[in-house]
């Protein structure tokens, strides 16, 4: 069981941050795995909410998407998307939302729409899904994504989900991004600017800085993320035994 991949460290670090949360809105992609892991490790009481219309899921396997039948079967409630977005999300019942991102900038602006120009894109990404309103209506937003100089950019090409603008986030925008977990480290926000909170074991600060498109200031004494426990790794590998999603 010793040794772990960067992806495994990333989802383990993300799952841990859900220890004290109650209601978590689960985004598509990596958040799906991180939250499924949290439910099996850090916080079995966590209430998982999916934009597909599920509240209180108890997934019996790794959900293959946010609309997997394992999420509906055995859930506390399954409802239409209107009710899910209007009453659960917009009504303020979600403590934390875990989102993915293709690009993020130091202000926490998230881009999942397009690389390059909107009208003539270099890469057309999936788009908002529910992320735009989730980022506004959840009490706080966590992000999990792979970090590189191409994904951690000075300015996102397109703001899909709003971060912390200069001068602060207006109250009606909600609290916005509070945490970013990558394969290299964990980031928080101080006065609306992303800061490295911890680096994962075996990662040096130069690597983190190189995988960041802006000049990231890092305290030399930055903490190290505690390594995955045996129990955490075992749970990850039960979820994704063939490493289909966590290479």
């Amino acid at each position: 069981m010793s040794g772990w991949t960067e992806s495994e460290m990333m989802v383990v670090a993300a799952a841990r941050r859900l220890t004290d949360e109650r209601v978590c809105f689960v985004g598509i992609g990596l958040p799906n795995i991180a939250c499924a892991l949290a439910k099996r490790t850090a916080n079995p009481q966590l209430e998982l909410v999916y934009e597909s219309g599920v509240f209180g899921a108890e997934p019996a396997r790794l959900p293959l998407s946010i609309g997997d039948p394992t999420l509906a079967a055995g859930a506390a409630a399954v409802t239409g998307m209107f009710q899910l977005f209007a009453y659960y999300l917009q009504g303020g019942r979600v403590d934390v939302a875990f989102l993915g991102a293709a690009q993020i900038d130091a202000a926490g602006n998230i881009n999942t729409t397009v690389v390059g120009d909107y009208a003539a894109p270099d890469v057309r990404l999936p788009g908002s899904g529910g992320a735009c309103e989730i980022g506004i209506n959840a009490k706080k937003v966590f992000v999990i994504m792979r970090q590189s100089a191409r994904s951690f950019v000075p300015h996102v090409d397109f703001v899909t989900t709003s971060g912390h603008p200069p001068g602060g986030r207006p109250a009606r925008w909600g609290a916005g991004p509070a945490l970013v977990v990558t394969q290299l480290g964990v980031f928080g926000f101080t006065e609306g600017v992303m800061q490295l909170e911890s680096v994962h074991p075996g990662v040096d600060i130069a690597t983190v800085r190189a995988a960041c498109g802006w000049d990231l200031e890092v305290d030399a004494a930055v903490a190290q993320t505690p390594p995955p426990t045996e129990a955490e790794l075992a749970a990850v590998r039960v979820l994704d035994p063939d490493r289909t999603y966590l290479r």
């Binding site: 597909s52 599920v54 509906a72 239409g80 729409t113 057309r124 999936p126 899904g129 506004i136």
Partner: protein, 304 residues
């Protein structure tokens, strides 16, 4: 009174070139069978609407039925991209594809306004996002109470909405369990509705549990009975998502020739979805069939 039709006849009668068409179902109950029949009948210039254009829309776009896409999340869920759609958006290859883009709740709000005869739907979204710039149909609206601002989206009224359901009567009363997405709103918003069911059931089955009815026959024009009609997506309690197909689609979709060959083999060469299901094969259907998990029942009482 029966609205039961073959998929061929339902599509022939109800889906027209140039129509705005919504095949709805959020990951669940996506009527691939209907999408394939639209390809087979070579419809053209469709505006395809759907929260999550996924493989079936990639196939339809690749086959040339669409001129425009209205959506909120476009991808191969849990896997990656829809390459045929991306080629058209990124490189106009082989032709441009117009897009009109919202968020999920924006699309849900559009169907809701469409179903409810409202000129707009207000929602708390889009603050600080570039989406309203990219799509000028997303506009701010002031509350008539105090000075609050929210955003509005316009109604969406498809010419045709097509939904997959687990069971329906010949009159079109349709029942769904598991994820219900926004099929109800999309159906009520539409001018014409095709219900594609796994099973046709007696009226007595539906009337024994009327809270389960998602869409009434009132708004339904055709009922098409297609077992396994949502493969490779799933039908709760009937079959699982065929994840191997979703994973395999990535490579097929990346290669225009492979994609064209797939459509030839799995759509044009087959007369209907029954042939498709036979080609998928009994072994695969067995693998995809879940262990039973009955809902239990409730008592409505008889009040005579």
């Amino acid at each position: 009174m029966s609205k039961v039709a073959s998929m061929h006849d339902a599509v022939a009668a109800l889906v027209r070139d140039g129509d705005t068409v919504a095949i709805e179902g959020f990951t669940h109950l996506i009527s691939f069978a209907a999408g394939h029949e639209i390809i087979r009948q070579r419809r053209r210039d469709l505006t395809l609407c759907r929260l999550t254009p996924d493989i079936v829309y990639d196939q339809m776009v690749a086959a040339g039925v669409a001129r425009k896409l209205v959506f909120s999340w476009m991808g191969n869920p849990g896997v990656g991209s829809l390459h045929a759609i991306r080629r058209r958006i990124e490189h106009a290859d082989p032709a441009p594809l117009e897009i009109e883009e919202y968020s999920h709740f924006g699309m849900v709000g559009r169907y809701t306004a469409g179903a409810a005869g409202l000129p707009f739907f207000p929602l708390r979204s889009y603050e600080g996002s570039d989406l309203p710039t990219a799509n000028p149909r997303i506009v701010p609206v002031a509350s008539p109470y105090g000075d609050e601002i929210v955003y509005a989206v316009p109604p969406l009224n498809p010419d045709v909405t097509i939904i997959g359901v687990q069971r329906a009567t010949a009159a079109g009363d349709a029942q769904v369990w598991g994820l219900t997405g926004c099929q109800q709103e999309a159906a009520f918003a539409a001018d014409r509705v095709i219900v594609v069911c796994e099973e046709l059931v007696d009226e007595a089955v539906v009337r024994a549990d009327p809270n389960r009815t998602l869409v009434p026959g009132l708004v339904v024009d055709a009922v098409v009975v297609v077992p396994h009609g949502c493969h490779p997506s799933f039908a709760q309690g009937y079959y699982d998502r065929d994840n191997a197909f979703y994973l395999a689609w990535d490579a097929i979709s990346r290669d225009p020739e492979a994609l064209a060959a797939w459509i030839d083999e799995w759509v044009y060469a087959l007369a209907d979805h029954a042939e498709y299901a036979a080609k998928v094969g009994e072994e695969r259907w067995r693998e995809l069939t879940p262990v039973s998990a009955p809902s239990g029942g409730v008592d409505y009482g008889s009040y005579a």
